[in-house]
Structure formats: C-alpha cells, structure tokens
C-alpha cells in the first residue's frame, strides 16, 4: 500500500516536561497510551542537558516500541512557563526551571526528529487532557487550576482549548488577590500563587515551625523545619494537627477567592482542581465550594460544578497529545 496514512491513523508522541520529571508517552490514534517512559528532569544541570534527556526519552520510547519517527503524526510538548505557542518558544521560565528563557523548544525538537512539533503550556495541556479524557468530558466551558509547587491554569471555551493571543492564557496563579500583598517572582503583586500553592503552604509551615508552634510536623521533619512538604502538612492535617489544619485552611481560603473570581469571570459549567495538592480533596475544595456558593454571582454559582481532576499526573501528557490532534485537524480544515 503506497498511499500515505492519514494523520488521524498515526500515533502521536507527547511529552510533559515537568520540573521534576520528563514523562513521554506514545498515543494510539484513538487516544490511549501505548507506552511511556519517565526520566528525571534535573533542571539544575541547565537547559541543554534537559533537552538532551528529553530527546533521549523520545528516542528510547520510539526504539523500545520499534517505531520510526516518520510514523508519527507529530510530537506534542507540554512545558511550564510563559509559552509562545505559534513560535514554539518557552519565553519566560517557571520557578522550577529558572534558566528557561527564550528557548525555541519546538524548533530544537523538530530539527532533531524531523516531524511536526507543537508546544503548549503544561496547565493548558492539563485542561485539554481533562476535557477530552478526564473530569471535564462533555463540558462546554471549564477552567482548571493546577495546584503544585506553583499554580497554573487552563481554559476550555466552547469545547476548545483557549490559549489567547499567543498561548499564555490561563495564568490563574498570577492574578492579584491581595493588591497590597508581597511581590511575586513573576513581577506581579499579591498573586494567588503566593497564598494557595504548595510552595506557599511549605513556606508558611516552615516559618511557623521555626517560630516554635507545636505540631506533629516537627517530628515528621525530624527537626529540619525547612524540609517540610505540602504532602506532610496534608498528612498531619488529616490526623487532626491544628497547625497543619490552619495552614491548609488558609490555602483553601485563598483558593476559594481564586475560584470565586474565575466563576464570576467565566460563568463556567465546571472548575477542575488538579496538580499534586488536589490529592487533599475536600479538605482543600470544600471551603472553596462554600465560598463560591456564598460569594459568587448566584447565576454563576448555580451553574458551576467544582471537582478534582481525574487524570492525575497524566493530564498534561494526554492534553499535549490531544493538542497535536487538534492542531493537525485545524490545518486540514
């Protein structure tokens, strides 16, 4: 058969380039993961070293599955930071990968592998992943907050990923919720991320432990206050520790403020909460649900559903794969 296969019949390779790990997966035409590989990101070694490991992950995934790169419909890359999607460039870095400034990632990967490469912000990818395969299936308009070390976001409008002018839409973590608040690393002031992210919880936990407040966290961190993690705070809170509970209540309050803002601005059918902190479940979400019911416009509060993400750490890679399909379909039309 000499006829070239249609893009829709070909697999897609998608990679989520996170601050901790690189997760690459091969997707069947119907959107299932056929195989995946994980590599450490080790961003401290510099941009080139990370890109080398990213390329090695792609090559190894293809090799292990006896697939030639020419068989792919395209490669999708989800990456944190301020992304210029049409140019395929990581313009501004995320806190975890501070030296990623103006990195033409899509071009680099395209030159290496010779297939079409599409770059998208990781939280936007997660929103698309959840919309196509996760908690948001069939939902026309949704917003997603990713609560990890930082806070990202993604937006689905009319069943499609909304990226804005160049791919940087959805930065819910960097909306000011305290106009007189502290300066954020992004250059803005009083950003949501400063109050409701994993890093914020850890920063406040360490400070309060150092100040001498009593908590089971002190034993959990074996006296090393600065090593406390958001996961440990969650565990301690579940066990009834008052300090841990108070720390999460504060984060949940600010998350609620952010959700009320998103509900008043988007009147969405759904708000999805993803990222590592979403594992805290109702401990984090219940106050936000209450705040939306009490504070948001009643028209909007009455039509929104607030849920946790369904795809966990895989939302980004699912979304990056769906993004490739969407972009190729758009070119065809």
């Amino acid at each position: 058969m000499s006829k070239k296969l249609l893009d829709t019949d070909s697999p897609v390779l998608a990679v989520d380039v996170g601050g901790t790990k690189i997760f690459a997966a091969l997707f069947s035409p119907d959107g299932n993961i056929l195989a995946g590989v994980t590599r450490p990101t080790q961003p401290g070694e510099g941009v080139s070293a990370v890109i080398d490991r990213l390329c090695a992950a792609i090559s190894s995934l293809l090799g292990e599955n006896k697939m030639a790169v020419a068989q792919l419909a395209g490669i999708g890359l989800a990456c944190a930071g301020g992304i210029h999607t049409p140019r395929g460039v990581v313009v501004t870095p995320s806190p975890n990968m501070p030296d990623w400034v103006d990195v033409p990632l899509a071009d680099i990967i395209h030159k290496k592998f010779g297939v079409r490469v599409f770059l998208v912000n990781d939280a936007s990818a997660a929103a698309l992943g959840e919309h196509r395969y996760g908690a948001g299936r069939g939902v026309k308009n949704l917003v997603l907050f990713t609560l990890g070390t930082g806070i990202g976001g993604g937006i689905i409008i009319n069943n499609e990923l909304y990226l804005g002018a160049v791919g940087s839409a959805g930065e819910f973590g960097h909306m000011t919720v305290a106009a007189d608040g502290p300066l954020c690393g992004c250059g803005n002031t009083g950003c949501l991320e400063l109050f409701a992210s994993g890093h914020a919880v850890e920063r406040d936990a360490a400070a309060r432990l150092r100040r001498g407040e009593s908590s089971v966290l002190r034993d959990m961190v074996k006296g090393d206050c600065d090593s406390v993690t958001a996961a440990q705070v969650g565990e301690a809170a579940r066990g009834g520790d008052p300090l841990a509970y108070d720390l999460l209540a504060r984060a949940a309050y600010y998350l609620g403020v952010g959700m009320v803002n998103a509900v008043n601005i988007f009147n969405p059918e759904m708000v999805v909460i993803g990222g590592g902190m979403a594992a805290l479940g109702d401990m984090l979400l219940a106050p936000g649900r209450r705040m939306v019911a009490e504070r948001a416009f009643s028209v909007s509060a009455g039509t929104v559903c607030i849920v946790t993400a369904a795809l966990g750490n895989e939302a980004g890679v699912y979304g990056a794969a769906a993004f490739v399909r969407d972009r190729l379909a758009r070119r065809k039309n």
Copy 2:
C-alpha cells in the same frame, strides 16, 4: 412579492436599559442606527413602571418610523445585572436597579410585541458592540471593562461574544483584588468595583472632603460634600487639584491591578475601557498600561493593546442589535 423577507434583510430594534435612561434604537440590516429614542428609567418607581416606559419607548420608536413590529427580525435588550440569557431573565439586580430580582424581561417584551426577544447583560453587549462597530473591530480576543457607577465587563473569544454557561460571564468588577478588603454589595469581598468605580471615587472624595482636606472640589460642590461626582473629580484633577489627582490615581492603580489580572488570564489582543469614567482617558489608562508592562507575563504584556471604547454610550445598544443578528444566524445554521 409574497416571499417572506429573510431576517438579515429586516431591521432590528435594540434597547439599552440603563440605571438612568432607556435608549432604544432601530438598526438597519447593515448595522446602522436609523432612529433612536431616549426615556428616563426612573428605577425608583419600580419594575413595572420601568417596563411600561420601556414598552412605550419601543412603541413610540416604531410609530415615529411608521414601522410594524412584524417587520422586525427581533428585539435585543441590554440590561445591567446578573442575566440568565437562555431564560431571558434578570436574576440579580445591579446597584442602580435594586428591585430587579428574577424579572423575566424577555418573556414580558415578547408577550407584548410578539417578536423574538433576546436579553443580554449590558457590559457583554458593550463588548460585542465595540467588537463589531467600535474599538475592537477585527480583534480576535478582547476583554472590555465598563467603568461607570459600578464596573461591568464583557469578553470576546475567537471573534464571538463569550457569555459562559448562562450569560453571566465577564463580571470583572466583582473579582476580588483585596482578599481582606471590605464586603461588596454583591456578596463578595474586596471586589475591584469597591476601588476603581465611579461610585468608589465619589465615596472616597466625599469622605476626604468631609475630613477637611483642601481641594477645589469643595467649591465645586458648594459645600455639599456628598454630592461630589466622579466627573467633578476628573475636572478638578485635570486642573491640577492634588486631592482629585490622588483619588483618580488610586482608582487607576486598582484598575491597573484588574487589567493585569485580565491580561494574565486571557492573554487578549486588546483591553477596551468603556463607560463614563473612560472619558478620563490617559489619566486613568496610562498607569494601567504601565502596570501591565511591568507586572503581567511578558508574553501577554507584549501582545496586548489597551484602548478606550469608541462608541461611548451607544456601545450597549449596538451590541444588543448585533446580539440579535448573531443569535438568529446561529439558529439558522
């Protein structure tokens, strides 16, 4: 010729029901205003009285132009408040019309005139008006803030009005920008409207005059501090009055915070500032432009243009007319 005229060949009647006046206009099929009438709203007389005046305005506009209601493609209504567009109901009131709770306005007007009626939030209508006929022509994604007594907003995504699940999207005035701030009439806390609206400027001006601060405003209001208007503050600021200048600088600062949020969330090509306060021009906008350049994500700051609205008080009625055309076109497809 017995063939029924197409909707696109028929005029549209659109009405902007504002807190001060009702402005009804007849639009030609190509979107020009053929004729208009203005009536006082006098919301203090109650919902029924306002609706009677609204109906009288429509009848009088038709009568004066020797037109039968059956000749219209439809009637578009732009109204402040929390609107449920599919149901055509004003669910929650705006501050200027506090007794408009659960008013099925579209049905009432439909029953009276027998043509299709479409209800849309006035700031959303203004965004559509500016997009089709004003400052935002040809702009794919834009957000509009209306700065009047309160602050409203509207959103254009992919060249279309974005209304959210039921028509309540775009409430930029009711995003929290000061999480520990005062309670807003809407039920939320620290809303942008409390700091950057005309009412906020007037409230703060009155308070500072009462406190005895010196200002030319004292003469302008002839000693009646509580009668001070945002327009007077603007006039005094233009004349170099330090108190007036300071009051506007504070409003401009918070407007800047709101614009940075909108830019980080939407990565829009354009932010349009409309409403009565937009007449202050660069006195209000320049600080916001600077803040967006300094504080927003550089990817987004670099691709946005911040301008004043072009249609003035007519944006809402233009948008309500365009909304009728859009809805009828959608039904046909």
